[in-house]
Structures are given as C-alpha cells and as structure tokens.
C-alpha cells in the first residue's frame, strides 16, 4: 500500500502540476499569440527559446536555474531584494522551474490553434465592431479551445513527469519539493522496489490515460 510519505508526494505533485498549468496558460497564451501573429524578425529567436526545453537535458535547465536563482545569481538577487529569499528548495521555486520546463508543451499547441483561426476571422470580428481584446476572447479563444485543452493536458502531464529539474533544485524536502518522480527515485535507490513499483505503475497508467485522451479526441471539434 501507499505510505503517508507516498501520498504526500502524490498530493504535492498534483498541486505542483495544477499551479504550473494555470500559470503556464496565463503566461503561455500571450507568448503563443505573439508568435502566431508577429512578423517580427525576433519570432524565430523567441520560438527557439521557448522550444529549448524540448531538446535541452533537464540537468542543463536545472543547473542554470540553480545558479540563477541562488543568492549570487541575478534571479536570486532580485527575489532577495524583494524580501522573498531565494527560490531553490521551495515550492515556488519548483513552480518557476516547471513553468520554464513545460513552456513549449503549452505554447506550441496554443500557437498552432491560434494560427489555425486565421486572419479572416479577426477581420470579420473587426468589421462587426469587436475591438482586439474583445475579438480575442469572443472569437479566438473559443475557436482555439481544442488547442487550449491539449496545452493544459500536456503541460499538466509533463509537469507530473518532471524529474531532472526538480532533482537539481528541489532539495528533496517532504511535502515541499519531494514529488512522485523523486520519491520513486528514492525508493529505487533505497532498494524499496515494491514501493517503487506501486508509484511507477501509477505514473505509467496516468501517462497512458492522458495520451489516450489526446489521441482519441484528436480532430474532434464540437462544431465541425
């Protein structure tokens, strides 16, 4: 059976993934909008930066975050000057790291959905007296809804599956930074294979269900 420590790790993981997903949708949407609409020469650069976590080893991201958010790093100095202390080994620190880590998983589906909406819908809305913000919420967001669902599910699942970055900056503190993936690692390290199996099987089932959901609803749109 799952121990109290395991359950705490599961609760923490779900909380981390939820908070991260909400922030990602808030942060990722304007980025996706900009990327979908801009003709700026910086589009390629920004797109590449957003996509970096797709190819970057989590250890690289974790290492730089550890250095940047530490007391001698620029982010660390900033958070300390705000009286917030430094972020590594804290839940907010994990959230920040997860937001970076899962950013492309949210930005890209939303960006694709925005691009699919097309210029013409925006023009039609403008000729019907809808201002840019109005158009965004009454036309673009509803039309891009499948993209948002994909983004939220992928962002959530990817954060749940995060390991390397958390390991590098989490400090493995129960109920604060010890998420399921780290807990599994600890179990394996401590040769507690039965416990490791239980959690691992849970993760496997969760990931499969998420992907099954995404693949079976692909292409299904309510109004088509």
């Amino acid at each position: 059976m799952l121990t109290e420590v395991d359950l705490a790790a599961i609760r923490l993981t779900l909380k981390l993934a939820t908070v991260t997903t909400v922030i990602l949708l808030i942060v990722g949407t304007p980025i996706a909008w900009w990327l979908a609409r801009t003709r700026s020469k910086w589009k390629g650069v920004v797109g590449a930066v957003v996509a970096l976590p797709l190819v970057l080893p989590p250890t690289v991201l974790g290492f730089y975050l550890l250095v940047a958010m530490g007391p001698n790093g620029p982010v660390g100095r900033f958070t300390e000057s705000l009286g917030l202390g430094t972020l590594p080994f804290t839940f907010p620190g994990l959230v920040v790291a997860s937001v970076f880590y899962s950013l492309p998983f949210v930005v890209q589906p939303v960006q694709n959905a925005f691009e699919a909406v097309g210029e013409r819908m925006l023009e039609a809305a403008a000729t019907l007296r809808a201002g840019p913000l109005d158009t965004f919420f009454s036309v673009v967001v509803p039309l891009a809804r499948p993209g948002f669902v994909t983004a939220a599910v992928l962002g959530f699942a990817h954060t749940v599956g995060e390991f390397g970055v958390v390991l590098m900056i989490g400090g493995n503190i129960p109920e604060k930074t010890r998420v399921v993936s780290v807990q599994i690692y600890d179990h394996v390290e401590a040769l507690e294979y039965a416990e490791a199996h239980l959690l691992s099987a849970g993760m496997l089932a969760f990931s499969f269900v998420v992907l099954l959901f995404l693949y079976t609803r692909k292409g299904v749109r309510a109004w088509k």
Partner: protein, 364 residues
C-alpha cells in the same frame, strides 16, 4: 469645389498601397447613396481599395466618410476598423463557426451602441434566413452562408455597406438565389453600398455608379448608364458589352403574352412579366443584339425598333467589327456591327437610323 461638396455627404478615398509587384493609387469621390460598383479584373486593386476604406488595409492617404475622417495619413489619424460604422461582406461568408446563425447575427449587433436603423427581424426577413437561425454555420450551403453573412453585416445597422464579391465563390444557381436579395437591399434600405465585382451582369443589375479599375488605378468613374455606354472604356470591348436601361412596365398584351416596357426614347416588347404596370425594371441590351438599318424595315420578325442618332463609332474587340454608339432620346445604345456593314450603309456620326433590338435581358 465640387469635390468638396461631394465629400461632405459622400465618400472620399485617396489611397496608395505599395506592394512588391502591385501598386494601388486612387483618388476617388464616391456618392454617399446607392450602389457603387468597383469593377475590374482580378488584380485590378478593387478589393484592396475596399479594404483600405474598411481600414483592414492600411495604405497611405485619406478616407473620409460623410465628412468624418477615417484615415488621414498626413496627420497620423487612423480609425481602426471596429470603430468605423460599416458592414463588410467577404467573398466567403466568414461566419464564426462556433456560433449559431442567430448568435452570428447578434455578434455585431450587440456591439453597436444606440439605435438600430435596421431591425434584426428585417435583416432576417430581407435575406430569407428565418428558418436557419438555430443552425450552425457548418451545416449551411454556400448560398445560405452568404445570405447570413450579408444579414450579419446589415444587423449592425451600418452607415456604409462594403461587399467584396459576395457572389464570386458561388455557382450560378446560388448566384441566382442571392441576387434578388441584393436587389431588395438596394430597393428597400437607404444604405450606401460599395460593391466589388468583376461580373458585368452583376454590375448591370445592381449598380447605380460604376468605378472601373485597372492595374491599381481608376480608369473611369460615373453613373452606370453613361459609363457602360462609353466606347473608350475596356468595358465596351468585352464580349458582353452593352447598355443598361431603366424601364417602366407599360402594359401587358394578354393575347401574345407580351409586356411593353417604356423608357426615355421608346419602348420594347418582352415576354410577359409578372410585374404590375408602373413597376420599374432594369434591363440590359447587349451590343451584339442590336443591328442597324437606314430605313424602317418592314417584313422582319424583329418587333423592337427604335429611332436613334449615331453619336460615336469606335473599334471593337476584333478587326471585323466596330462599335456604334447611338442616342435614342436620352437612352444610349451600343450596336456591334461588322466593318463591312458600316461601309455599305455609310454610317457616320449624326446619321439618324433605326436600331433593331433582337433581345433584351431583364435584370429583375
């Protein structure tokens, strides 16, 4: 001075757009009432001009609507599209796929403050879409979609209606389905319309004023009848060159199932029409359907004969033909005849002749 007088209650559009391989450069004063057709081949810049007026394209220049500045590049003024009191009908209806027909209609309507000059019911009734209100756009035919698109634009009670080839994406049957609705718009609503088209038939049926465009420039701008009857315009070279005549239903001939149409300069008989005497009808007389005779011809099956005076002779689209412009008491006609006939009959300007009209296309 006259230009200023026009722009006070009309539309002034001075626009320049520079794209690689294309330049739009127009300076136009358009009437603030009736249907103005922007006519020309694809690539002539008519859609771009329309988009500039709508603010969807941001050229350099100025756009004034009935004295209100919509754009004035010299002073950095630019009223965004959503603040311009216009309705816009796109070539494809561009309905919002996530909203029902009703909610599409309400979309613009509820964003317009103040009073509605066109009631929603009226727009729905005018376009005959009452039975479609609860449907989703995905389930509509092309013609139905376009009618909803037009009603949606009307529902905002626009002060100017811009239509970008609203029929171009439709087949003949659908076109025939929608044209009557457009004519009703013209007859029943007092909204100025700018109508982009490359179809002479549509223009002849709908327009009061024609702007002829070519390669980003305005070639001619004027009333429908006078513009169509000008021989110096590319319009006249088209295979279906001709004139438009505004006629009144005179009387019906029950025995032969004919209807007499009267207009300035004469009258013609056409197959029986359903309209009551006194109704106004617009009809089109193609140049190829007009032949000329020096004397009144007897013993011919052609019943429609009009006395007219030759006012102009010009080359036609083939070397074998010429175009002859005639004036019949205020109504212009164009005849397309062979050069040989021209010489044999010794036709020259000022000559009084008989125009024989073989066919009249009634435009509704």
């Amino acid at each position: 001075m006259e230009m200023n007088a026009l722009s006070a209650d009309g539309i002034r559009a001075r626009c320049r757009v520079d794209w690689p391989g294309f330049t739009l450069d127009v300076d136009l004063d358009l009437p603030g009432r009736g249907v103005t057709a922007l006519f020309g081949h694809s690539g002539s810049g008519k859609t771009t001009l329309l988009r500039c007026i709508a603010g969807l394209e941001r050229g350099v220049g100025e756009v004034l609507f009935k004295g209100t500045v919509w754009q004035d590049s010299a002073h950095g003024a630019f009223l965004p599209t959503h603040k311009r009191p216009l309705g816009y009908v796109f070539q494809e209806a561009s309905l919002f796929p996530h909203l029902s027909v009703r909610r599409n209609l309400e979309f613009g309507r509820k964003r317009v403050g103040g009073q509605h000059r066109v009631s929603l019911d009226h727009a729905v009734e005018l376009l005959g879409i009452g039975h479609l209100l609860e449907r989703m756009p995905g389930g509509l035919s092309g013609g139905e979609r376009q009618r909803v698109g037009i009603a949606r634009a009307l529902a905002t009670s626009p002060e100017l209606l811009l239509m970008d080839e609203p029929l171009a994406a439709l087949d003949l049957k659908r076109k025939a389905e929608i044209l009557p609705y457009l004519e009703r718009l013209h007859d029943e609503l007092d909204i100025p319309v700018l109508y982009v088209s490359h179809s002479p038939d549509e223009v002849a049926r709908l327009a009061d004023h024609v702007v002829l465009m070519e390669e980003g420039r305005v070639v001619a701008s004027g009333g429908l009848g006078e513009t169509l009857a000008r021989l110096d315009l590319p319009l006249a070279f088209a295979e279906d060159a001709g004139v438009v005549i505004e006629a009144t239903v005179g009387e019906h001939d029950a025995r032969y199932h004919l209807t007499r149409l009267d207009f300035a300069g004469g009258s013609v008989f056409v197959a029986r029409r359903p309209e009551a005497p006194g109704s106004r009808l617009r009809c089109r007389v193609h140049a190829r359907d007009v032949s000329l005779a020096r004397e009144r011809v007897e013993g011919t099956s052609i019943t429609n004969l009009l006395p007219a005076t030759v006012t102009e002779i010009a080359d036609a689209d083939t070397p074998a033909h010429v175009l002859v412009r005639l004036e019949a008491e205020g109504t212009a006609l164009i005849a397309r005849i062979t050069r040989r006939s021209l010489d044999q009959l010794q036709i020259e300007t000022g000559l009084r002749m008989w125009a024989q009209i073989k066919a009249v296309a009634l435009l509704g």
